[in-house]
């Protein structure tokens, strides 16, 4: 072994003791932000914070720790912000204190938070909304005075004051529409913002001309209320998306941002991901995820590849084994040589595949944009027809322009602008209650259309942690088996230990872990060996034919010279998985299982659930299958969690990932299930379908409104008063209709049961 062998052995003992603790400590150290005074700021996400008592408990208990300067709980985001003094050394204590209080927390990377804050537009929109609200209320007051009979000089004065308020207010608040309209026009397209911007600008221009020339009618109030209503829709839409984005970002990153590099002088330094070069020696401690592809140089360890390949059983890594970026070291520290840098690793490959797969989805056109494609030309055409009609019939150019502009104003898609976002916000609220995070509204639209669901196995239908199904270990041997099992971090051993939780262990000597095989020890006195692990390896010492032992599945246990005992393991199904096929069937959806795992576990699960299945599918096979389904006319929902699923999540028409998914998977998915229960999937689909119905109804209402209002405008009899009433009424009607989605009994709350998969810290949604 290398020059730092002693050190490695020391680390080994500590790491095997509690790899989770080490990982969490490391994660927390990197998540903190250095403050100018030398202290550190941490932001922790604790999803179980839910009331005032939680705030008091957390703030008081954490403040008692030495070295803590300030603690502040944010109940809305379910986050704790902690500032520590420069001499505070053990940040892990923060997490442990929170654990003890019953608020398991994960660190939030402040770099991610900053990135998020940079992209935040909702705050800008809210300011624009406030300004538009202020201006429209005041202008409306002045307009009401004009409508109720102010005339001559007073009217002109009121119009001028209105102009002074309206022009800067629209200039500030309307920027979002103007910008988007300009962008669409310069790209040679029409979107909903083109008629909006045109109507607002023309209304202002006409009103300005009228007020300066002492005319009777001005549409300042219409221009402003339009801006105000439309901004409400924009703001809701943006706020919803940001909330989802921040919740997803708040989840701890699973892929490390760096690695411990063994330098030429034998010292170990932590280096960020972009400094890692092929050929560097890296140390991978137990509980760490590999940041780049690598080859093992020394040491042996069990490696969990479930997020990378979908395989549920851990693999033994020894000298020369190639490992992909993203695998998790389960047992002992190993040294590896990087074979790729961050840009060429398996992870980066996956990312590229995902981007390629997403191209297909980009073709989906949101329902509002589809409407705009018909609506915008229709409105412009109507307005032109009105203008020409008036010129031809009356020959009055002024009246013709006036009528044409009032057509534009009255058809301005106030209600259309609200029709979609309000429904989506209400739906997002309902889904959130049921433990589903929705990334944006387009996912909801696509979900309503699906006809076929594709599931991944490990981590999606199952939790990825095995569970003891049946055991033949005799009662008197249980303490021995338990002691062996408790000393290992291998998932199978953990399952055995968990199965016998509550029993006490027995004293075992010379306890050691044989990587890839199992645990071995001797019983005091007689010096007889005992083993718990792979059946063929256990069979070597047991009183049994080794060949028959090798055919056993699961885990075996034996005392030297005694008969072999056998433990069968099954994967733990997520709640709701058993019923999922039936529930989807009720929604007339078909389903299938595509897994990267071996045939045996896949088909066993498939038979149990009644799903057609395919095993050993590489990411490209999964994409191929989804493409084939899509070509056959199916709309595919992909549900998966791993890195190996990320490209297919992007390829599916719509996708869902459990919160335990790798971050690439979560980012690729349209919906993230924050709870263990899979019954949220059919419920989400139902909400999506209801939302689609409501959106269609809203469009119907908006069109009906136009059918009444447009003829009036074309006839030139729309006064500013009629315009104000008609536009507000249609908007209110649409909002009221959308709220019906919230009135239906929301699906049962499962807040009491946050999902906490074995290897992952609890997740966060706020």
């Amino acid at each position: 072994m290398s020059c730092c062998g002693g050190d490695l052995a020391g680390a080994c003992v500590e790491a095997v003791g509690d790899p989770d603790r080490l990982r969490r400590a490391e994660e927390l150290r990197h998540a903190g932000r250095e403050l100018p005074d030398g202290g550190t700021e941490f932001v922790l996400s604790a999803p179980s914070i839910h009331c005032g008592q939680c705030i008091v408990a957390i703030e008081d208990q954490l403040a008692k720790l030495s070295g803590i300067e300030n603690v502040r709980v944010n109940l809305t985001l379910k986050r704790v912000t902690i500032t520590t003094s420069p001499d505070f050394e053990e940040p892990i204590v923060l997490l442990e204190t929170l654990d003890r209080l019953g608020y398991p927390a994960t660190p939030v990377d402040l770099g991610d938070l900053d990135d998020l804050a940079k992209g935040q537009r909702s705050r800008e929109l809210l300011k624009a909304l406030a300004v538009a609200g202020f201006a429209s209320a005041n202008v409306m007051l002045l307009s009401v005075s004009v409508w109720s009979g102010a005339d001559a000089a007073t009217r002109d004065f009121f119009h001028l004051v209105s102009a002074l308020i309206a022009l800067p207010a629209v200039g500030y608040s309307g920027r979002v529409f103007f910008r988007s309209a300009l962008k669409a026009l310069s790209a040679g397209r029409l979107n909903m913002d083109v008629p909006i911007a045109l109507a607002i600008l023309l209304a202002l221009a006409m009103s300005l001309y009228e007020s300066l020339s002492g005319g009777e009618t001005a549409y300042f109030d219409a221009a402003l209320t339009l801006t105000f209503f439309l901004l409400i829709g924009r703001f809701l839409d943006e706020a919803m998306r940001e909330r989802a984005r921040s919740a997803v970002t708040a989840l701890a990153r699973l892929v490390s941002k760096g690695a411990n590099v063994v330098e030429a002088d034998g010292r170990i330094r932590y280096r960020p991901l972009d400094e890692i070069q092929p050929g560097m020696r890296l140390r991978l401690a137990a509980g760490d995820r590999l940041a780049v592809d690598a080859r093992v140089l020394s040491g042996e360890a069990m490696i969990d590849r479930s997020l990378v390949t979908g395989e549920s059983a851990p693999m033994l890594a020894a000298l020369g084994t190639r490992l992909e970026a993203g695998v998790l070291n389960l047992s002992a520290p190993i040294e590896v040589e990087a074979t790729s840098d961050a840009g060429t690793s398996f992870l980066a490959e996956t990312q590229r595949m995902m981007e390629a797969a997403e191209v297909g989805r980009g073709r989906y056109v949101r329902i509002a944009d589809r409407m705009a494609r018909i609506y915008a030309p229709a409105v412009h055409l109507l307005s032109l027809v009105t203008f020409l009609g008036w010129v031809v019939i009356t020959g009055d150019w002024y009246a013709a322009v006036y009528a044409a502009i009032s057509v534009l104003i009255i058809t301005c898609p106030c209600a259309l602008g609200l029709a979609v976002p309000v429904v989506h916000v209400v739906a997002a609220g309902r889904l959130f209650e049921g433990g589903v995070m929705m990334k944006d509204g387009s996912g909801l639209e696509r979900l309503a259309k699906i006809s076929h669901a594709v599931f991944d196995k490990t981590g999606t239908l199952t939790t990825g942690t095995p569970r003891v199904d049946a055991t033949t270990i005799s009662d008197k041997d249980v303490p021995l088996a338990l002691s062996l099992a408790a000393a290992s971090t291998h998932p199978a051993a953990r399952a055995v230990a968990a199965h016998y939780a509550g029993r006490s262990g027995a004293a075992i000597e010379a306890l050691r872990e044989e990587p890839g095989c199992g645990m071995e020890g001797t019983i005091g006195g007689m010096g007889r060996r005992l083993r718990l692990g792979r059946p063929d390896w256990v069979g070597e010492i047991a009183d049994v034919d080794p060949r028959s032992a090798a055919t056993l599945e699961g885990v075996a246990f034996a005392i030297e010279g005694h008969p072999i005992a056998h433990v069968t393991l099954t994967e733990t199904l997520r709640p709701g998985a058993e019923a999922i096929v039936q529930a989807l069937g009720k929604l007339s959806l078909s389903a299938e299982l595509l897994s990267g795992d071996a045939e045996r576990p896949v088909y066993r699960l498939a038979t149990r659930l009644g799903l057609p299945a395919k095993a050993r599918r590489a990411p490209s096979d999964k994409i191929g299958r989804i493409r084939a389904l899509q070509e056959a006319g199916e709309r595919v929902l992909m549900v998966g969690d791993g890195l190996n699923d990320a490209p297919s999540l992007a390829a599916g028409d719509v996708s869902m990932a459990p919160a335990s998914a790798c971050d690439v998977g979560r980012l690729a998915a349209d919906f993230v299930l924050t709870q263990n229960d899979l019954s949220a999937i059919p419920e989400t689909i139902e909400v999506a379908r209801k939302a689609e119905r409501l959106v269609t109804q809203n469009f119907g209402l908006a069109i009906a409104y136009n059918c009444v209002a447009v003829p009036l405008a074309m006839a030139g009899i729309v006064t500013p008063l009629i315009a104000a009433i008609a536009m507000s009424a249609s908007s209110i009607l649409v909002v009221a209709n959308s709220l019906r989605l919230a009135r239906r009994p929301s699906f049962r709350s499962k807040k009491q049961e946050p999902a906490t998969p074995a290897f992952l810290a609890p997740e966060v949604f706020g």
Binding site: E41, C51, G52, I55, V56, E59, D60, A63, N70, V71, R72, V73, N74, L75, T76, L77, T81, T83, R123, L126, K127, A130, V131, F134, A137, N138, L141, A153, T154, F157, V161, I165
Partner: protein
């Protein structure tokens, strides 16, 4: 008419004051934790109140 010359600026000024107050409260982070603010008012522990004065980022 001359009355209006006083009243309108006063009305607009009051409205602008409200708008300014909203924008200020938005900027100073008072909308960051609405649920928290709702329950914090019930705490009578002085220690908590003192700490609450300091606004996190």
């Amino acid at each position: 008419m001359s009355l209006l010359l006083f009243l309108i600026p006063i009305a607009l000024g009051l409205g602008a004051l409200g708008l300014g107050a909203f924008l200020w409260s938005l900027k100073s982070g008072q909308y960051d934790d609405l649920d928290g603010a709702a329950v914090r008012i019930l705490f009578d522990d002085e220690e908590s109140l003192k700490r609450s004065d300091r606004r996190p980022r």
